[in-house]
Assembly symmetry: D2
Homo-oligomer: 316 residues x 4
């Protein structure tokens, strides 16, 4: 589907129209308030960006304003961890949708400490534990940040230390998940250490424009289409996209696939990363969340964008 | 991705090689034995077929031998039911992966009688209940069969009455699911009636060649690419494909998406239908099942076929 | 504790005072409405009775008006089934509190079709299945009724056929439970047959006076203290009392033991049977139910009666 | 039942015979090994003791050897906490059997952080949190120990600091439970603090003789029958006994009530406290556990003792 779409003359105006439409909607969902740093974000914000194969990034709205990417970061820590331990990761984390909210502990009891997939909290904590191997938390956090900066070729991407500290101070349920997995032997480091890494990568902040660039390799067989180098193999890119599609929106993953029809990963900060293989990477940000904890207007905007542009992995 | 692939000179030999390789494998999974009719199927059988846009069906192995398609039929009853009631169906059935075995009743208790998706047993029973509206079971069953025959333009496709009778005689868990949903008001007809429809459509028998033809419309925007008429709208075809990807292999759906990378729907008879949008529809049959109740060699064959041909919805 | 209490001069006035107090309370709980026969019972009804060792039955309020004993009957079918198959019953039914509502199906999935105890619906359906062995449902139902009439020496106790028919017509969840257990092989007869017995014994009607007499053997080592004959061994009476204490009030059993302190079994018709070993058997009837499905004022009246009379199995 | 039994001439010989019988049994269950201090206890140990109203303690076997009372201590921390906050405790902890293993976290998710009863781990951690109010952990621990020493009038009862340290070093699941409850707002102090108290009271060590004396007040309306002073009101003693009966043996509570027929509380160290209202308090110790985590031979010995002596709260 790629050839015509890349030169689609209308993409800029489609994004502008979308941003204008979203700016005036009054159904904006509810901003996450479990930490003050997220709660004080302006719910009127809306940004959207598309990174294309030729290096252009088309955007609209508040696409240059940094926000807390939260769980979107799990795509990149997964990528790093697979680079370190390869398929051995799948002995400690599953690849199935959870059928439960993002922070459910019930499944862990039934499946003896093995999280269902790397995108629910428990799974991402195991991924952080993998990235800790042989490192101090500070080093592992630095490696994650540098990897993400490298992907976007932009070292202004940063970690919001206040957000990380707030997450740590109130993240009792994540402490419960980590200790619970440790009781089953599925955490190699102390809960405090693995969570130290986890809370920091969730606190990474960047703009829509930057996020689209960070995720772009997933749309192009694992390559940076501009610089030409390979980040991961085509097979790995394909499989990460598959995981995003089946597990990227918690217990709303099926609905996102049904409505939007592309791989995506959401974060509680209101950001979503979407991948259109061969075409580009999308990012959207609107802080208000729906009942499943995914950006309300962000999901709607991606659905409209995908319909307008004919972007779906389920169509010819 | 379609243009080059349609004329791919190697597809015939790829399928032949696959069939030859699968014929000699000794890890064949376990044939379902819960009814005698399935238990006596020869585990050495293996068939594979691909239906292309130009009307050709390329096949290998036992691709002309009928088998019990079982749950693969749920794709077609869903298509019919959406045609009858449209999106109103989604008030009675969800669109999320279940995170549980195909016949789990736990989720129904937690979600007050609403099945997670139309491809687990409970969801398909609701779909049967929808198809019963205003009809005798015999009529509803006839309508389903005729629709499937129409899709393949082949009225030799038939219902194996012995299989249907055996399913009814031993399907206590399905009776439990149906009565349970009725207790929540999510079944309009007596369990016996809805299950009469359900057991009969699961007992439909056809060959790989026929199954590929029946499912072909899903690969081509809902159209019969040869006759040219539309079966469903492009949007509906896209969304049915999305449901197949996220929910088509029970609690192995994530793994199938990860490894094979195309929408698919499996049945306990050992058949799988796969969709490559814009390219064609695939079907495979090998009676032995893996731990998730999906065809063991069928899944492996589809994974190999997809890799060899470069067919993945998650790649450019 | 028995000697002094049996001649307690105040029991008559205690019961009269209780009935008078309960008559004017406005918090009466909600009458069960799932079948019309129960829904039309007057919520103002209140009866209470105590059957003593010497044959006297002291009562107050509407103690001579028949009501549907519903699940209280499970005490007597359990007694009969233990007489038939003895401890072999415990291979098919557990002896632990359920930690779930009376009609939960979740536990059955986790424990492979073995109900937690004979007083939740699933367990009582297994007991009915045991009583069916070698019999037509009509015969098994007749045997249960005659046993209960024998215990009270009163053949006016009867089965309300309208209640039984209504239960059958709407008991979808019980059909689900029965079919579900049959799928695990823990039901020997068709669901319709076992439920035929179950619905009929739940539809037995009697007055508080009669119910106290039916249950009296449990207070006196399994003997009829007036006629002198043995119904069950002392050990069996003791163990049935233990089951009533730990499991007799569904997910409110712990609370009943905590507040009232005697073995008891409740029914959704608003009746409760209580046992004070060595002293007598109590019965109370008030149709309105609390959140756990147990008689609201009935529980309160038994708590007050037990406190006033010093009746607790947990005190010297 | 008390008068004759108190002078029962045979109690000494009954206990001696039991101890001799248990000494030679080869089915001894499995000693808990999750911490080394418990794992190295000699499985051949067996002690039993009965504390009577007149101050005598009859014993046999290793009744003077200290062991880790573990969860038996929860009876005494509950008693203390009820003394501090009274019925307000029941807003934070339920009174129902759990229907789950002692350390299950599933129920906490379903019931929003409220443990089912004070004897499962989560409930006892809340009780520890209550005892911490206004105190340093060291003070709260000291208060618990002094209360237990006071009950037995024996200040040689001690806390095994090695056991407490081992519990803390490996108690990941308890850290999970505590953090999980904190995420629901049902823990006032940091998990580390509440667990500090919890691990220490579980590490209290005493002999069977001492344990029988500590628990004796529960058999005599809350009074010390020798010194004459009241520890708790008769009503509170009765209700603590009721909780022990319905919840004292985790998911084996129903079975213990069925077989033994008296209130009891077990610990993973192999100890059990039993209460015969009006007669005395029993304690038994045999380190090997059954599948439910309760002392295997200890349960059998109490069942035999209760049958021989005619001790059951469910009999006249």
């Amino acid at each position: 589907m790629e050839a015509t779409l890349l030169q689609h003359p209308a993409l800029e105006s489609v994004l502008s129209d979308l941003a204008a439409e979203m700016a005036v909607r009054t159904d904006r969902g509810a901003v996450a308030t479990y930490i003050p740093q997220l709660g004080k974000v302006d719910p009127a914000k809306f940004g959207i960006a598309v990174a294309l194969e030729d290096g252009r990034v088309i955007s609209a709205g508040d696409a240059d304003e940094p926000f807390s990417i939260q769980s979107v970061s799990k795509v990149f820590t997964l990528t790093l961890a697979l680079g370190k331990v390869g398929d051995a990761l799948w002995k400690r984390v599953g690849r199935e949708p959870s059928g439960n909210p993002f922070n459910s502990i019930v499944q862990l009891e039934q499946e003896r400490g093995i999280p269902r997939n790397p995108f629910i909290n428990a799974g991402a904590i195991v991924v952080s534990d993998v990235l800790l191997a042989g490192h101090e938390p500070r080093e592992a956090i630095g490696e994650i940040l540098r990897f993400i900066q490298f992907l976007a070729d932009d070292d202004t991407i940063y970690i919001d230390r206040d957000v990380a500290a707030s997450e740590r101070a109130t993240g009792f349920r994540n402490f419960a998940l980590a200790n619970y997995m440790r009781s089953f032997g599925n955490l190699d480091h102390a809960a405090e250490l693995a969570l130290g890494v986890y809370f920091h990568h969730c606190a990474i902040a960047m703009s829509c424009r930057q996020l689209a660039l960070v995720g772009r390799f997933l749309a192009f067989d694992g390559r940076n289409p501009v610089a030409g180098h390979s980040v991961v193999s085509p097979g790995r890119a394909r499989r990460i996209n598959a995981l995003m599609l089946t597990c990227g929106h918690y217990d709303g993953s099926g609905d996102f696939a049904f409505r939007v029809g592309i791989p995506g990963k959401s974060g509680v900060g209101g950001g979503i990363l979407g991948i259109v293989p061969g075409v580009g990477s999308l990012s959207v940000w609107s802080p208000g969340l729906n009942a499943n904890g995914n950006s309300h207007l962000g999901s709607i905007a991606l659905e409209k964008l995908a319909r307008t542009m004919g972007w779906s992995i389920f169509s010819p």
